[in-house]
C-alpha cells in the first residue's frame, strides 16, 4: 500500500532515517556479517592466526552428536511449551468469553505473567520446586515422588516447560480472547437455534474460525520457546543435568562465551538465523492467508 499525496525532497527523509539505519547497520548487519565470516573460519588456540575453512564448522556442528541432541531437546521443549501454553490459553479464553460477572478481574490477573521476565518466571518456579526448600518439592516427596530435578533429566525438562508455559499463557489468552470476541454472535445464535449444543458450537464454528489465530500463535510460541527462554534455562537448570535441558540458544552462548569455541558458536548462530528467517517467512505467508478468512 502506498500513499497518493507525499512530500517532495530527499534530504529531510534521509535525515529522518539516519538514526535507525545507523543502529541497524552497526548492531544488525555488521554482527550478522561477522557471524557468517566467523562461521567459515577457524582460530588456533591462542587466537594468533585464523584459517578459512569454508563449511567445515557447519559440517562439524551438524555432525556433532551433542548438537543434534541439543536440537532434539529444543524441539521437544518448544513443542511441549507451545502445546501447553496454547491449550491453557484457549481454555481460559473460551471460559472468560462466557462469563459476564468478574470478567474484568479474570482478564487482569491472567495478563500478569506477561509482565514477568522469563528469567524471573524461572526463579519463581525454582523456588517452588527446589529439592531442598521448595514447598511443592517437599509435598511431592511426601506423596512418595522422588523429586530431584537436579539429578533427574525428565523432571528438569518438565520444570522448565512448566515455567516457560506459565509465562506465555497471558499472551495466548489475550489473542484467543480477541479472536473469540470477533466471532459474530449471530453465527452462534443461529447455530443454537438449530439445536447445536455448546460443545458442538465450539468445534464446528468457533474452533475453525480461530484456526488462523491459533496458527499465528503457534509460530509465536515456537519462536518464544526457541529464543526467549534462555533466562529460564540459565536460572533453573543451566542446561543440566547432563545437558538434558540444553536448548540451542543456551548452547550457542555456552560454546561461545564459556567454551570459547568461536567458529562453532558462529556456525550455530548462522543456523539459528536460518531457523528464525524460516519461521518468520511462514508467519508472513500466514498473514497473507489470514486476509481470506477475515
Amino acid at each position: 500500500m502506498e500513499r497518493r499525496v507525499v512530500f517532495s525532497g530527499w534530504l529531510f527523509p534521509a535525515f529522518l532515517l539516519m538514526p535507525q539505519l545507523a543502529v541497524t547497520l552497526v548492531f544488525f548487519f555488521w554482527p550478522a556479517a561477522q557471524a557468517i565470516l566467523q562461521s567459515m573460519r577457524r582460530e588456533d588456540a591462542f587466537g594468533l592466526s585464523t584459517q578459512f575453512v569454508a563449511a567445515e564448522n557447519f559440517a562439524a556442528v551438524l555432525g556433532d552428536p551433542f548438537y543434534l541432541a541439543s536440537a532434539e531437546v529444543t524441539l521437544l521443549f518448544s513443542v511441549a511449551v507451545a502445546v501447553l501454553a496454547l491449550a491453557a490459553g484457549l481454555l481460559l479464553a473460551v471460559m472468560a468469553d462466557r462469563v459476564v460477572r468478574g470478567a474484568a478481574v479474570y482478564k487482569t490477573v491472567l495478563l500478569l505473567p506477561y509482565a514477568v521476565a522469563p528469567a524471573i518466571a524461572g526463579v519463581l518456579w525454582l523456588f517452588l520446586f527446589n529439592p531442598s526448600i521448595g514447598i511443592v518439592a517437599v509435598g511431592l516427596r511426601r506423596l512418595g515422588v522422588d523429586w530431584n530435578y537436579l539429578l533427574d533429566a525428565d523432571q528438569a525438562m518438565l520444570l522448565v516447560i512448566l515455567a516457560a508455559a506459565w509465562k506465555q499463557i497471558s499472551y495466548n489468552f489475550l489473542f484467543f480472547l480477541a479472536g473469540l470476541q470477533s466471532i459474530p454472535a449471530s453465527l452462534l445464535e443461529a447455530s443454537a437455534i438449530d439445536g447445536a449444543s455448546p460443545r458442538r458450537r465450539f468445534w464446528t464454528i468457533v474452533f475453525p474460525l480461530l484456526a488462523p489465530t491459533s496458527f499465528f500463535l503457534l509460530v509465536v510460541n515456537i519462536v518464544y520457546a526457541f529464543f526467549d527462554t534462555f533466562g529460564i534455562i540459565h536460572n533453573v537448570t543451566q542446561g543440566g543435568p547432563a545437558k538434558a535441558t540444553e536448548i540451542l540458544v543456551y548452547k550457542v552462548w555456552y560454546d561461545g562465551m564459556v567454551g570459547l569455541d568461536l567458529g562453532s558458536s558462529a556456525a550455530q548462530s548462522v543456523i539459528l538465523m536460518a531457523i528464525v528467517i524460516g519461521l518468520t517467512a511462514i508467519q508472513f505467508r500466514f498473514i497473507e492467508r489470514r486476509v481470506h478468512y477475515a
Binding site: M1, R3, R4, V5, F7, G9, W10, F12, P13, L16, Q20, L21, V23, T24, F27, F28, A32, Q34, Q38, A88, L92, M95, V99, V100, V109, L111, L112, Y114, V116, A117, A119, I120, V123, L124, F127, L128, I133, G134, I135, I169, Y171, A185, E189, P198, R201, F216, F227, F230, G231, H234, N235, V249, G256, M257, A266, S269, L272, M273, T280, I287
Partner: protein, 282 residues
Amino acid sequence: MMVTARSSAWVPHAVLITGLALVLFPVYVAFVGSSLTASDILDAPMSLVPGPHLFENFARALGAGTVKTSGEPVAAMLLNSLVMALVIAAGKILISLPSAYAVVFFRFPLRRLCFWAIFVTLMLPVEVRIIPTYKIAADLSLIDSYAGLTLPLVASATATLLFRQFFLTIPDELVEAAKIDGAGPWRFLIDTVIPLSRTNIAALFVILFIYGWNQYLWPLLVTNTPSMTTIVIGIRQMIGNGDTQTEWHIVMATTLLAVLPPVLVVLLMQRWFVKGLVEAEK
C-alpha cells in the same frame, strides 16, 4: 445474549478460578517467602502464611543486597533496570517514528531498500547474534556502560512497522490541507502526525518498556561490574548454584521488586497495553 445466558453456569468460573490460582500461586509463595526469615525457609516446608519480616527483608534487599552479590544494593539495580527500560522504550520510539514517517510520506531513491533493511532486523533477535554483537560492543568500548546496555537493542522493526501501518491510514486530505496552508513536512510531522499518534505511542511504550525491563541475555553479556547489574541479572547472581548459603528471603523480596514495575505498567496502562500488543503483531 441467549447463547451466553444458557452456559453461564458454574463451570467457566471454576475453570477460571483454577487458572487464576495457578497463575498467582508462584507469586504468592514468593510473597510469603519474602516475609519470612532465612531459617524459616530452609526449615522446609516453609509456611504458607506470611510472616512478620516483610518490611525488614525489603529494606535489607533495597539497601544492602546479599553477600553473593557483594552487597550491591537492589535499589541501585532497580535504577539500572529503569534506565535500561526507559532508554530502550524511548529510543525505539524516537528512531522508528521518524523513519516510518520518511518511508511513508516521501518518495526518494532507495526508499524500498531502506524499508527492507529495517524490516529484516525483525528476523534477527539478539539471541541469535550474541557473540558477534558482543565483539562489536567491545570494539566500540561499550562494555559496562548504559550505551552498551541499550543501543544494540534500540533498533526495532516492530515499532517501525506499527507506525508505518498507522501512517498509511492518515487521510490524504490532511496532507493536502497542510500543503495548502504552506506547512512543510517538518510542521506536518510535529503538528499533525505526532498528535494523531499519541495512542499508538502510549501502547508501544508499554510493550517496549516491558521488553526492555525483562532483557536477560544481553545485559548478562555486556555488564560485568556490580554497579551496572540490572535487577533481573542480580537475582541470578544472588541464587548462584542454589546452595544453602542462598538468602532466599532476600532473593524473593528482590524478585517481587523486579516484577513490580512492569506489573504496575501493565495494570495502570491496561487499555493501551492490550491494544498495542494485539496491533503490534498485525
